[in-house]
């Protein structure tokens, strides 16, 4: 990092089905919550960056930059960033670059998605924009299908069993019972998950993160400091379609972004005590843990087994509940992950936390590392 960038404020809406709130309402709610908790005032914001994927397709609204700018009395400069489901973290990365270059000193980063105005079919069709229109769409596949292919191959290669995979969502739901912002706050047993309806064999309904509305906002600054320092912000890309990849069970963009982030922060995987990772589907959580360096290929399930059994000393993964239990308003997720990483670092008084976000089937990936400084 070229300068000392701090996370000085954050806020979010609860994620869920907000029939009465439109995109602007969601952005306003998250923004106000962030400003309320920050040492700066609204007038200190000299740039707004909005992360969003689907507003053009599902809400007839491009130009979210202008919309967000009008939330603040002085209409600061604003821009919009898109990287499919990674839009939130890519907005953070853009903010980091603006701060490190000195173009801005205090940046408000908002991630927002309004998905429930459209039908489930329309939303599924729109989400396919994160895949390859020419190579993937004609087959009729959807994202559950794409990750179904990944899961089928993973199970074939490593012998992962159905009841083991169910531990992932079970852990996420149990951990979300402590999170007031989660969409779903009750425990769900692995047996229930194993028996939920098939969506894309072998993935079942409760392996899949839901469709949600929501917004989350962060304020990053070089002018104000806090106990949460951003020490790494790295992005990476991979082929858009699985048909252009050599392997299904490990994602190059995961490995590249995290390797660069560890380098930038000058740390190693074992230094990370808190992790928020992109579990759009349960199988992704396992692959992520392996790619990010926390487990050997085929062995990530042991981390979830330990979390389920409550073994102390296990890495804190998705203590917020992850995408599965918190909900996944696409672009809000990346921002919310950074927020939850910060909260957990403070709560457990740990030093390093990682927020990991990706878009599509990890065709783009962004990794952020927060350092919690002792007060």
């Amino acid at each position: 990092m070229e300068r000392a960038v701090s996370l000085i404020g954050f806020g979010q809406t609860r994620f869920g089905e907000w029939w009465g709130k439109g995109i602007k309402d969601l952005m306003a709610e998250a923004t106000n919550a962030a400003l309320d908790a920050a040492p700066c005032t609204a007038l200190d914001i000299d740039l707004i960056i909005v992360g969003n994927m689907l507003a053009e397709t599902l809400n007839g609204q491009a130009h979210l930059s202008a919309l967000a700018s009008t939330l603040l009395p002085h209409r600061p400069p604003a821009l919009r960033v898109e990287s499919a489901c990674g839009s939130g973290a890519f907005a953070l990365h853009t903010a980091s670059a603006m701060l490190e270059s000195g173009r801005a000193r205090t940046v408000l980063v908002i991630g927002v998605e309004k998905m429930t105005d459209a039908s489930a079919d329309e939303a599924a069709d729109a989400l396919m924009g994160a895949a390859d229109a020419e190579k993937d769409r004609p087959s009729g596949i959807t994202f559950p299908g794409i990750f179904g292919l990944v899961a089928a191959r993973y199970m074939h290669d490593y012998g992962l069993q159905r009841d083991e995979l169910s531990l992932v969502s079970a852990v996420h739901h149990r951990q979300a019972t402590e999170n007031p912002f989660a969409q779903f706050r009750s425990e769900i047993s692995p047996e229930t998950i194993s028996k939920s309806p098939l969506i894309a064999d072998p993935l079942r309904l409760l392996d899949c993160s839901p469709i949600s509305d929501g917004a989350a906002a962060c304020i990053l600054s070089t002018a104000f400091q806090s106990d949460l320092r951003l020490v790494a912000s790295q992005i990476a890309t991979d082929a858009l379609s699985l048909a252009d990849r050599e392997e299904l069970t490990s994602f190059a963009a995961n490995r590249d972004a995290s390797e660069r982030a560890y380098l930038e922060a000058n740390i190693r995987p074992k230094d990370i005590e808190v992790l928020e990772t992109h579990d759009c589907f349960s199988i992704a959580a396992l692959i992520n843990l392996e790619d990010l360096g926390f487990a050997e290929p085929g062995e990530a399930i042991s981390i979830y087994r330990n979390l389920y059994d409550g073994i102390p000393g296990t890495l804190a993964v998705n203590r917020s509940g992850g995408l599965k239990a918190c909900g996944h308003p696409v672009a809000a997720t990346g921002i919310k992950q950074l927020i939850d990483t910060g909260k957990q670092l403070r709560a457990s008084n740990s030093r390093f936390g990682m927020a990991h976000n990706f878009g599509g089937v990890c065709a783009t990936c962004a990794v952020h590392v927060l350092e919690h400084l002792p007060s």
């Binding site: 079919d121 599924a124 069709d125 396919m128 924009g129 229109a133 020419e134 190579k135 993937d136 769409r137 004609p138 087959s139 009729g140 596949i141 959807t142 559950p144 299908g145 179904g148 292919l149 990944v150 899961a151 089928a152 191959r153 074939h156 290669d157 309806p197 098939l198 969506i199 894309a200 064999d201 072998p202 993935l203 379609s241 699985l242 048909a243 252009d244 050599e246 392997e247 299904l248 490995r255 390797e259 360096g293």
Partner: protein
């Protein structure tokens, strides 16, 4: 997404490329496809086509990973404008294909890996430990002997190699272009069969093309195929490990080492692309572990 006539025309122009047989890499069944694709579950697979490219396409019937498929023209869906979108769907072929080969000839133990990974060291140790059961198959080559060659090659003239090739005596062959002329490498059937006659398992230290040739000739199930990988999680780490080992070996110039690394990169890719050609992938960081593993996995060796 709305499929317009222009999009449909481009899709139709691309379609002939998909008319190849292939193998299922993975498959899934969507219980509820998008509305445009109908009310019934839709099985979709990622398929490796004969030309090495991959395609995401529907299957005409359920299948399994590794199954061969053939292309079929099918109506994929009808757009709101009543345009009929046709696409190639793949039909899984009967799982048991009647083999055209002779009865099962016996096992060949194959060790494949990039330059510098330690194949020769592993094979030397193995041959020493299991001399009564395993014997090395010499690689025929038309290149001249080089300092550092350790007896794994048998040197023949280009004319003799061509003759044997023509007579069908060579069961796997590859050619490495060099500056002046191509160097040929291969295995001779009678070298392998002689070892079988002695009741031993032929051991080949080999590379990707020769391995493929052996699998084609004797059938995949005859090959006990072990891939040897350098330690490292990412390709970069693995390649730097190989670089270190090649330098340590001290047999080649920096230029030659650089060339070997390029090939090594392709080899590493091969392990990922062609998992079907390998029964086991081993990381060579502890020689004893590797030998123990080999002895366990080869029938008759652990005695």
């Amino acid at each position: 997404m709305k499929i317009t006539p222009a999009i449909a025309a481009r899709a139709a122009a691309r379609r002939p490329r998909s008319l190849q047989e292939g193998t299922i890499i993975s498959l899934t069944t969507l219980t509820h496809p998008l509305a445009a694709f109908g009310n019934r579950p839709r099985t979709i697979a990622l398929i490796r086509l004969e030309d090495g490219s991959k395609s995401l396409a529907s299957l005409t019937a359920p299948g399994v990973i590794g199954q061969t498929v053939r292309p079929r023209m099918r109506l994929s869906h009808i757009t709101e404008d009543q345009l009929r979108m046709y696409d190639v769907s793949y039909e899984p072929l009967a799982l048991q294909r009647v083999p055209e080969h002779a009865p099962f000839p016996g096992y060949i133990l194959a060790l494949t890996g990039p330059s510098g990974v330690g194949k020769s060291t592993v094979s030397r140790l193995l041959l020493h430990a299991c001399a009564e059961y395993v014997q090395n198959v010499p690689i025929l080559t038309t290149r001249a002997r080089k300092p550092g060659d350790e007896g794994e090659y048998r040197y023949v003239s280009k004319e003799k190699f061509s003759q044997w090739l023509e007579d069908g005596e060579i069961v796997a062959v590859t050619k490495i272009p060099s500056q002046d002329e191509a160097r040929w490498y291969g295995y001779r059937a009678r070298d392998i069969e002689a070892i079988w006659k002695k009741g031993k398992v032929p051991l080949v230290i080999t590379e990707t093309h020769l391995l493929q040739g052996l699998a084609n000739h004797y059938s995949r199930r005859s090959i006990l195929s072990f891939g040897l990988l350098p330690p490292g999680r990412s390709k970069r780490t693995m390649l730097s490990c190989l670089l270190r080992r090649l330098r340590q070996r001290g047999r080649e110039t920096e230029e030659q080492i650089a060339a070997r690394l390029d090939v090594a990169e392709q080899d590493l890719q091969f392990f990922q692309n062609r998992k079907d050609l390998f029964d086991h992938l081993m990381v060579n960081d502890d020689l004893n572990k590797v030998i123990d593993f080999l002895k366990k996995k080869v029938p008759g060796l652990s005695a």
